[in-house]
């Protein structure tokens, strides 16, 4: 789904990323790479195919837009380093024309020096590009004239129908000052969020992005 936002063109992709056409930037949040391996290392059974799906989804979304920059809005890696890191390194090396960048999140505890050989810059502070400011956590005070894109929440919005039906779906949630992205990674779960009348909410269902009535 393509939307106009602050005079910018944004593509909301059902694999849970946003492509910003004017700047040729793809941004995604909360990949939690290596989470399955982290669990398996601790003796907790998690299907290892999850890891493959994370990379193939990232691959699909990159091939769709061919961005020049890919921006990770925090929680790129789930925990300390493990074998998934090597796969990630190889993945990044496949795209020499793309700059991958990381805005640090609370789960990103891997030594920042390890990102140097991959040419991935790390931002410990929110990153400003044009009218937007990118962060992992929602910003408490968004600077004036800037709009905040962030992750961290893993938002799931509850929809209510007639006859007391309800359903919870991952979503892009645009508020007046900030937008929270759905978690990109598999094996991440949903946290219930609520909306206000002035918000715009786009849910992801059956491989499509759908705007819901407020």
């Amino acid at each position: 789904m393509i939307i106009q936002h602050q005079e910018q063109t944004l593509h909301l992709h059902p694999l849970r990323g946003i492509y910003w056409e004017e700047q040729d930037i793809l941004f995604v949040a909360d990949l939690h790479l290596g989470k399955a391996t982290h669990f398996r290392l601790a003796g907790i059974s998690v299907p290892s195919d999850i890891m493959d799906d994370n990379f193939s989804n990232l691959n699909t979304i990159i091939e769709t837009y061919h961005p020049s920059r890919v921006l990770f809005l925090g929680d790129l890696f789930h925990s300390s380093i493990n074998s998934t890191w090597d796969i990630f390194s190889m993945f990044v090396a496949n795209y020499p024309d793309i700059t991958f960048e990381l805005v640090q999140g609370n789960h990103d505890i891997i030594d920042t020096q390890l990102f140097d050989p991959l040419n991935i810059p790390i931002y410990t502070e929110p990153l400003v590009i044009g009218p937007y400011i990118f962060s992992h956590y929602p910003l408490l005070d968004t600077p004036e004239n800037l709009y905040n894109f962030h992750g961290h929440i893993h938002p799931g919005i509850q929809l209510i129908g007639k006859g007391k039906q309800y359903i919870k779906l991952p979503c892009f949630h645009f508020g007046t000052q900030c937008c929270v992205l759905p978690a990109f990674g598999k094996f991440t779960g949903l946290a219930k969020v609520v909306a206000q009348k002035t918000d715009a909410v786009y849910v992801i269902a059956e491989g499509q992005v759908i705007e819901v009535k407020i």
């Binding site: 299907p47 129908g161 039906q165 269902a205």
Partner: protein, 818 residues
Amino acid sequence: MTRSEQLHIATQWFSDQGWEPFKFQTDTWKRYWQGKSGIVNAATGSGKTYSLIIPILIEFLSEHRGKDRLPIQNGLQAIWITPIKALAKEIQSSAQRAANDLGIEWDIGIRTGDTSSSDRAKQKKNPPELLITTPESLHLMIAQRHHEDIFKNIKVLVADEWHELVGSKRGVQVELALSRLKAIRPQLKIWGISATLGNMEEAASILFGHYDQQPDWKIIKSSIKKKIKIQTILPDEIDKLPWAGHLGLHLMDKVVDVIISSKTTLLFTNTRNQCERWYQTILEYYPDFAGIMAMHHSAMDRSQREWVEQSLHEGKLQLVVCTSSLDLGVDFRPVETVIQVGSPKGVARFLQRAGRSGHRPGAESVIYFVPTHSLELLESAALRRAIQRNNIESRKPYIRSFDVLAQYLVTLSLSDGFMPDQIFSEVRKTFAFSSISDEEWNWVLAFIHSGGAALDAYDEYNRVGIVNGRYHIQNKSAATRHRMSIGTIVGDTTMEVKYLKGGRIGQVEERFISALSPGDVFMFTGKALEIVKVRNMEVRVRASKKKTTRTPSWGGGRMQFSSQLSEELRHQISLIYSGDYKSIELKMLAPLITLQQSRSHIPSENEFLVEYFKDREGYHLIMYPYEGRFVNEGLSTLIAYRISQQMSISFSIAMNDYGFELLSDKEIDVDRIITHSIFTTDGLMDDISRSANEVEMARRKFRDIASIAGLVFKGFPGAEKRTKHLQSSSQLFFDMFSEYEPNNLLILQAYEEVMYFQLEEDRMRSTLERIQNQNIIITRPNKATPFAFPIMVDRMRETVTSESLQDRIQKMRIKLIE
């Protein structure tokens, strides 16, 4: 020593106490001394403990007869399993008293989750002769290195309160532990003590497993019967009772009258939230109760509960408002009166609670029943008839619980490791796993060794390793997590509530706290508490003077009508139909019945009532199978699914123990669609599987499974960050396995548990068969009837739909912040 000498010593000891042994006691002694196994079928407070303690002690005397003095430090001779930690002390003192009198210098020890690690170490070095323990702690003993040495001389295992254990996964734990003990010590005697169950024979055969070619066990029944009287607390007029509701507070004044006229009263509520609310309200209207009233439920901190139990013993309390947390356990002699608020849902539970009063032999137990809404008056009459007819529930055993098996195998891998072939042959002798196939066994082995999948070169799965064919745990932190998780069956994530200074108050669910912020006040354990800060699964609070009614609720533990009670309830409705209003409760209900009759209909025994009407919420289709809420839930989904096969429609479903409602925004041609064919048993299993709710139900069942199988780790205070990164929800695991490994046995187990324990497929089938032989009566009331009302206000809603997700989303809206 001859049998008569043994009997003489036992009888002599009894007469020294001023007692005379009952026949079931002497029968048990004799059978025990023959080296045989059995079950003592006797109620609490009937001398069941001495039916086994005595022969165990005298067996030891016989063995060492003629010696100058009895040997000391004999190693473990007997294990006594109790499901309730609180009972351990009472059993210990009973046993100690008899041992002292008989001149036996046994060490009689207790090992439960509360036993300190230094005491555990002492027990390991010098095992007590008689050990009183829980199923979990017994497994922890099996997790010790060289556990075979500890058990090598053991004579008997006694499973006390077997009726409680048999319908739970802790029962499976006992079965598995027994399979190990029987392998170490084939001549081990197995004894159970159980209250009456509908399936007594089956319950016994579960305990005895398949260890012997020719099973030789016997049920020894106590003939002591307790008289029970049910007294319904009635409103002055039926109008005083609401049509729906579950709190029952409108009858509080009458309840307090009963409490005041009695020395000590236990007031049983069905949920912890209800318990808190009753406590608060009594205190508000009757402040004189301050100091002589207490509360007891499982979310309260242990030390507080123990204080309440102690005060009960000492007769210091006039009233304890409690939940099922006081169903079991030691007898509180001062208790004179028992009050049950709302439906007890089952005959056995009601009897158990009634038995908490009237301890003198031959005394009548009186239980007061407080209906929380008008139709519950019917239940009072139904319960009375059930007790008269001795119509007691069965306990369905857990079988093929692969979560418990996986946990047990990891436990064994902690000790000296295990050889799979040997353990497989042991496990197959249990009742629970007698049907396990080679494939299933191999799957469980693979699950603990490789995480279920085939290990490839890059895989780093790390839990249980194999060295020379022996399964050993490799991962130290996994071992620690495992030890901590045995016995902690966590449901929803709970948070510890503590005072700022550190005093523990109890646990509340995370979802309750997440809706509050610092400064907010809530009621818990009868106190107003202000949240100061929330951190790391801990809520720090301070006492507040503010007034609030905000009280936590806890999920889980929802119970349904047993089939016995359902049957009795249908009988009461048929009595109404035939105008037989003999009982006081039915007389009281008469005005309501007249209203039901004028708005709709009262079904006779061969009629099935369906009501259909429209209001601003939509179209309500209501049916009354009277089969318990989970069975009604299953039936409602099935009917919703079958209707949705004929037209594109979404339903929201509500149900209670009496019936269910299908609510939709589209009209249905009920005369055409609601016929006998929609209640057919043809294709039942397939239709259940296709209806969406089965997934939701399985997802809920998976909570326990995931935690028992060691998938979900709750973390602990002070855990390092990398450990916190291991926290996850069972829901997420459920979704993940469903997507990537649909044949995962734990997922299949969740579905089996849904079919067997929740939907009770056999009960659904027999209900549908019953409806096939009934006339379907469809009425069109112009508004909700007295029968429909309690169902419609039910807040736990389910959905069934045949519309596409996108169509549904187009019709839905987001709930906004108000």
